[in-house]
């Protein structure tokens, strides 16, 4: 039992000496902090934390003679401070000391301050920010770490001279303010020791009380507005619009506006209400079609809660987590059947004084109409009526910076040239956001620009949220501005990779090669030599990041050996280094039409990892023995070295396969793969896999330089596309099974939950009434079968259209950690596979990198990093990856949309020039009808658009999804959902926002101009 005494190894590393901190008697008041905390159960706990004060905290002053020996001292603060200020004109310049409220409210300003302006950030400010808002804390950290800036963190609470203790009856805020003021006192005294004339110290604070106290103590203090106003004009111009509020926050009662919105309930009431089930919590979704309508999906109800009107939406912005109260059933309504465009309806609103502005005409009409509709709704079938309610509180704002245009109509004619401060509206790019009011002095230069605006607050007395200008992105419709705005709008991280990340790359750079095979080489350890296999890759044209390569060869026993070889990214990207964390936060590579935002640095993505032909590359291989009918006899996973023999495009591979005259091993391999793929696909379809459809477009760019004349065409899938797809699916499924087997708690998997049956109600009703068919949604197999039967012989595109609409009824697939979901929830509905993961594209998807690491551990190649054994960590990482994946898809789609717009513009210009006013004629399908218009879908362009009627000469049959339109020559013609119509497409510039807008007109069977 006795513990064994072992001789410890001698230390080879040097480290600072181990010391015991001795506390002196005078430190005693500063030795402990005591605080109380309330637990979730309401019990109050007392916490006592020890605390030391030090004398070796460095001050960061360049020529300080006292602090230079202290650990962590860097000569950051220059001898001469910032001098380009008109009020503080001392020869030695000045430093700014930042108060917490500046970080909390003026972060954009802080980040834009001149880089040569020295900032001192007391640790009190950092700590308070961390406590109040983590995102702002992260931005502050970025600022502090920025090497180009002069920022010094002063650990004031840790240094003896500036440490503070809460005094009797003093609030925490007062204490923190005092701590920051102490910093100023300390620095002023401390700097005089080393410099005869030190720079001035100025406290930047928007807290009136704190400033007054500072002045009483003989310190300099200034508000953000005042400070920016005093800067030299060149700087002031840049910064003046970034100042939030402009004046100190008004106290209660000072702002006497008419209250437009109800106040939110207190946080405690909200929590209690949600807990008791009286209130419901969910994400707010603004309607795309009607700015006065929104929905909230809540857990407890299977239908979303409808919010009708401004008051009910109560200042929530798309994406916020809100709490709603549901009205009694008698007040429930159905979603409106009319299109309501905010830009049109509110074009006369005055940005300056909307507090007094009455309700606009349009809104009055909307209110009246709502009443009528509510009565109508009661008559309707209960299916249409949704639970209706109103927002009573916001749990979490999801505000970010929004890309906007300046609304020209909110500028007076005189204002177009004036440089005075004025209030204007910014219209966000996204239709689901309200207009944002902002104050600016550079309105004239902002017109025709895309600008970034953040929302600061939304007061109950203000119809619109107040925001401030962050920066201009560039001219509207310039390629750069559009691209950047797209990336910002979908939160794609697009900054170049930092030094710490690039340091993780192999030192050899692009001259890295697989070392020659020899015993004991680290790279070759446990790697199989597959260099002799006839392996090739098949990818879209122009693909540089080649993730996957394939091979197949017949075996003597009549079976076939097939292999999928995936780039061995986990060999280069190790767990938990800077490159790995960057890749984890990027989550995926984002493909835009003319740009690719990489997840991994280009050296890896397009070179070292990419399975380029004719060179040796490291791979992770999945090798099966398959029967000719595609049954797996045997599978194995191995790290390997391969040398791809050819990189085909889909087209080239197809040609090669079909060329009967060729019989070389490569061609034979492709043919073998193809026959197997056909067998695999048959098996999959038999198991109930769906073939869904979403329009995929290909954009032809004239050259990479110009964005101008381009063409759009729909992608043509080839046999070889399906070949690659089948083997990737097979590899993913095999890997999923293996890693789930080895790590049942933390395997990285992907699932696609079956859609709730009610999702198809609308579509089925539509199909029944219009076409007399129904989709069987009882299982994925049944759905696949009924989709196949959904054909209209007269209209071949009908099937595609139904597939697109069915796809929209489904849930989206997501990554998950196997330990967080019960085993029945693993299935992939669309692929009809009981288990699935992503393994085959580690260069462009982070989940695949994780799967690689887990598979590598599962085959005993390398130990599994601890982070991949923690369920919480995997869950957290995957939720980021899921979000990035979704946003990347949206960004890609938006990019295509933008180019389609450009292409149409180019084509349209020619058409209009040739005398046809209606623009390009295209066939379109009606996909939805409204009381005053219809939504159409042009499958050739993958474009959805709205056609609105201004006159009401038509009749609307909601029951049968039909509109009856009067013909000019008399009589009526019915247009219903699924009908084919002719539309004219033009691009028109919105006069207000200068934004190019796709405008559609109905051309046939009747002209919508007359409606």
């Amino acid at each position: 039992m006795a513990a064994v005494a072992v001789q410890s190894a001698s230390s080879s590393r040097t480290h600072p000496p181990i010391t015991i901190l001795k506390r002196t008697r005078e430190d005693l008041p500063l030795s402990q902090t005591k605080f109380l905390k309330k637990t979730a159960r309401g019990k109050v706990l007392t916490f006592l934390r020890e605390r030391y004060v030090r004398d070796d905290i460095p001050c960061g002053f360049e020529s300080c003679r006292h602090c230079d020996a202290f650990p962590g001292h860097r000569p950051v603060l220059p001898d001469v401070g910032y001098r380009a200020h008109m009020k503080y004109t001392g020869k030695e310049g000045h430093y700014l000391v930042i108060d917490t409220n500046i970080v909390l409210h003026q972060m954009d300003l802080l980040a834009a301050l001149p880089k040569t302006l020295p900032l001192i950030v007391p640790s009190t400010t950092i700590r308070e920010t961390r406590h109040r808002s983590l995102p702002l804390y992260n931005r502050l950290q970025e600022l502090v770490k920025d090497e180009d800036r002069i920022v010094w963190v002063w650990w004031n609470e840790e240094r003896r001279e500036t440490a503070t203790v809460e005094e009797q009856g003093e609030s925490i805020n007062d204490r923190n303010d005092r701590a920051i003021r102490n910093t100023l006192i300390f620095y002023a005294a401390h700097l005089t020791i080393s410099a005869s004339k030190p720079p001035q110290l100025i406290m930047l604070s928007d807290d009136k009380g704190n400033r007054a106290l500072a002045e009483a103590e003989g310190l300099l203090a200034v508000s953000a507005r005042e400070y920016v106003d005093g800067l030299v004009p060149t700087e002031r111009e840049k910064l003046v619009d970034l100042v939030v509020g402009g004046v100190d926050a008004l106290g209660d009662g000072e702002r006497r506006g008419r209250r437009i919105y109800d106040e939110y309930l207190s946080q405690d009431d909200l929590n209690a209400g949600v807990k008791s089930g009286r209130l419901h919590q969910g994400h707010f979704n603004a309607s795309q079609y009607n700015y006065l309508e929104g929905t909230v999906r809540v857990m407890s109800l299977d239908k979303p809660v409808l919010l009708v009107g401004r008051e009910a939406m109560n200042r929530s912005v798309d994406g916020d987590v809100v709490v709603v109260e549901i009205f009694p059933k008698s007040e429930w309504k159905a979603p409106g059947s009319e299109v309501l465009d905010q830009d049109l309806a509110l074009k006369d609103d005055d940005a300056d004084d909307d507090e007094d502005a009455g309700v606009t005409e349009e809104e009055k009409r909307a209110a009246a109409r709502e009443k009528v509709e509510a009565e109508e709704a009661a008559k309707r079938k209960p299916r249409d009526v949704l639970p209706t309610g109103k927002v009573v509180g916001v749990i979490k704002r999801n505000w970010r910076a929004y890309v906007c245009h300046v609304d020209r109509s909110s500028l007076s004619a005189a204002a177009l040239t004036s440089l005075s401060q004025q209030t204007i509206f910014a219209t966000p790019l996204s239709r689901s956001l309200p207009r944002i009011r902002l104050r600016t002095r550079q309105a004239p230069s902002l017109i025709d620009q895309k600008i970034l605006v953040t929302i600061d607050q939304w007061l109950p007395s203000s119809r619109y949220p107040d925001g401030h200008f962050v920066r201009a992105l560039g001219k509207v419709e310039s390629k750069e501005a559009e691209q950047e705005s797209l990336l910002l709008e979908y939160e794609v991280p697009y900054r170049p990779f930092g030094k710490a990340i690039l340091d993780c790359l192999p030192k050899e750079g692009d001259s890295w090669v697989v070392p020659p095979k020899k015993e004991g080489d680290v790279v070759w350890r446990d790697r199989e030599d597959l260099r002799d296999l006839v392996i090739c890759s098949i990818d879209p044209p122009g693909c540089q990041d080649i993730d996957d390569a394939l091979h197949a060869r017949p075996l003597p026993n009549g079976n076939i050996e097939a292999g999928v070889h995936i780039a061995d990214v986990s060999h280069f990207v190790h767990s938990a280094n800077p490159m790995d964390s960057e890749a984890a936060s990027r989550g995926t590579t984002v493909y835009l039409v003319d740009k690719r935002i990489d997840m991994l640095p280009a050296l890896l993505g397009t070179n070292l990892c990419s399975l380029r032909p004719f060179v040796e590359r490291l791979a992770f291989s999945v090798i099966w023995e398959l029967t000719p009918t595609g049954e797996i006899v045997n599978e194995r996973f191995v790290k390997s070295v391969i040398a791809s023999k050819e990189a085909f495009t889909y087209e080239a591979a197809q040609v090669r396969k079909d060329d009967k005259s060729l019989n070389d091993p490569l061609t034979m391999g492709i043919r073998l793969l193809n026959t197997l793929a056909i067998a695999l696909k048959k098996n999959r379809i038999k198991a109930g896999a769906l073939s869904l459809s979403s329009p995929e477009l290909k954009i032809h760019l004239d050259s990479s330089e110009s964005a101008e004349p381009i063409d759009v065409e729909q992608k043509q899938p080839r046999e070889t596309n399906s070949l690659v797809e089948e083997f990737m699916l097979l590899a993913n499924i095999s890997v999923a099974r293996k890693i789930q087997d080895s790590f049942p708690g933390t395997a990285v998997l992907r699932r696609h939950a079956p859609p709730p049956k009610t999702n198809f109600d609308g579509l089925n009703d539509l199909l029944l009434k219009r076409k007399g068919v129904q989709l069987d949604v009882s299982s994925n197999g049944a759905l696949a079968k009924s989709l196949d039967e959904c054909v209209d012989p007269a209209n071949p595109d009908f099937n595609t259209l139904v597939r697109i609409m069915a796809t929209r009824c489904m849930l989206s697939a997501e990554y998950f950690c196997s330990g967080s979901v019960s085993k029945d929830g693993y299935g992939h509905y669309g692929l009809a596979s009981p288990i699935y993961t992503h393994f085959t594209s580690p260069i462009r998807r982070y989940a695949d990198v994780l799967a690689h690491r887990q598979l590598s551990a599962a085959i005993g190649y390398s130990p599994l990093h601890p982070t991949l054994q923690s369920k919480q960590h995997v869950d957290k990482t995957l939720s980021v990856v899921n979000k990035r994946h979704r946003l990347a898809q949206m960004a890609g789609r938006a990019s295509v949309e933008f180019y389609v717009g450009l292409a149409l513009k180019a084509r349209g210009a020619k058409v209009v020039a040739s005398g046809k006013k209606r623009g390009i004629m295209e066939e379109a399908f009606v996909i939805r009808v409204f009381k005053n218009g219809m939504a159409v879908f042009i499958s050739k362009l993958g474009l959805e658009g709205l056609i609105t009627f201004t006159k009401s000469t038509h009749t609307f049959d909601e029951e049968n999804y039909s509109l009856s339109l009067p013909k000019p020559e008399g009589g009526n013609v019915d247009v219903s959902v699924f009908d084919k119509v002719m539309v004219g497409v033009t691009i028109e510039k919105d006069k207000n926002t200068q934004r190019g807008k796709v405008v559609m007109r109905l051309v046939g069977p009747v002209d919508s101009d007359d409606l």
Binding site: A5, H15, I18, R49, E50, R54, P71, S123, R130, V153
Partner: protein
């Protein structure tokens, strides 16, 4: 859960939440013989953790059955004062965690105390945690060493002990309670003169590459602690000796006076 905590283990200035640097131990104080009824006792305070240890023995074992014919047996009892602020609910009697702390202390001292000098007897060690802010076990071990010294029990060497945590790749010495909650902890007790380790205890997972570095650091920290303890013991003994000699002289003087008076 570590991620939900807003405590910053090590900030950008290289300071811990209580403004120590990674290799700094908490303020420390010792007190010998606070309990005169025991054969030896000591109270050690490290930061806000205070542990008081009393040693009884060598004495006749209370239970004959537990004695050994060739050496002394060590028995350890651990108690926590209700106000110690361990954050946990009231400890029931026979608490497993406390029993484990006791067993660790017993195992630490068994190879170091020269038990063969005291055959058929018992050494009873009573550990009382007076206040807790992390590092109960190392503080208790340090206090036990001093109490044994105070009781005059023969030992091979001092035993000093320290806890070592790991934040990312940075080892931290002498953890406080909030740090202990968030970090993997290694407790090392060693014989500082020879560098031998008598206890290395870990309850959390740790990467094997970091282990050696932490262990070595722990042993070094133990040496620093031992110097501090020895200094205190010598100083106090010096004082006691001085007081004794004073007392002897005083007694002599008194005697002389008495004799004088008697004359």
């Amino acid at each position: 859960m570590a991620s939900s905590s807003r405590l910053e283990i090590l900030n950008d200035g290289g300071l811990r939440h209580d403004a120590r640097r990674p290799y700094e131990l908490r303020s420390m104080s010792f007190h010998l013989s606070p309990h005169p009824t025991a054969d030896g006792s000591a109270t050690v305070t490290q930061g806000l953790t205070t542990v008081s240890v009393s040693v009884f023995g060598p004495r006749e074992p209370r239970q004959r059955s537990s004695s050994s014919h060739d050496r002394a047996v060590i028995a350890v009892e651990v108690g926590v004062a209700p106000w110690a602020g361990t954050g946990a609910q009231r400890r029931a009697r026979g608490d497993k965690r406390l029993a484990e702390v006791g067993a660790s202390i017993r195992q630490t001292f068994e190879p170091v105390v020269m038990t063969h000098l005291y055959p058929r007897s018992e050494l009873f060690i009573n550990v009382q945690v007076v206040s807790a802010d992390g590092g109960i076990l190392p503080t208790a071990i340090n206090a036990t060493t001093l109490a044994l010294v105070d009781a005059g029990i023969a030992m091979l060497d001092y035993i000093s002990s320290v806890s070592i945590g790991l934040h990312l790749t940075q080892p931290l010495l002498d953890l406080s309670a909030p740090e202990e909650m968030d970090l993997p902890v290694l407790v090392v007790a060693s014989l500082p003169n020879s560098g031998k380790i008598t206890l290395a205890q870990m309850e959390t997972r740790l990467h094997v590459d970091r282990f050696e570095e932490m262990l070595v650091l722990g042993v070094e920290a133990c040496k620093v602690l031992k110097t501090e303890m020895e200094e205190y013991v010598k100083e106090r003994t010096g004082k006691v000796v001085q007081r004794m000699s004073l007392a002897v002289e005083g007694a002599k003087g008194l005697q002389a006076g008495f004799i004088d008076g008697g004359r």
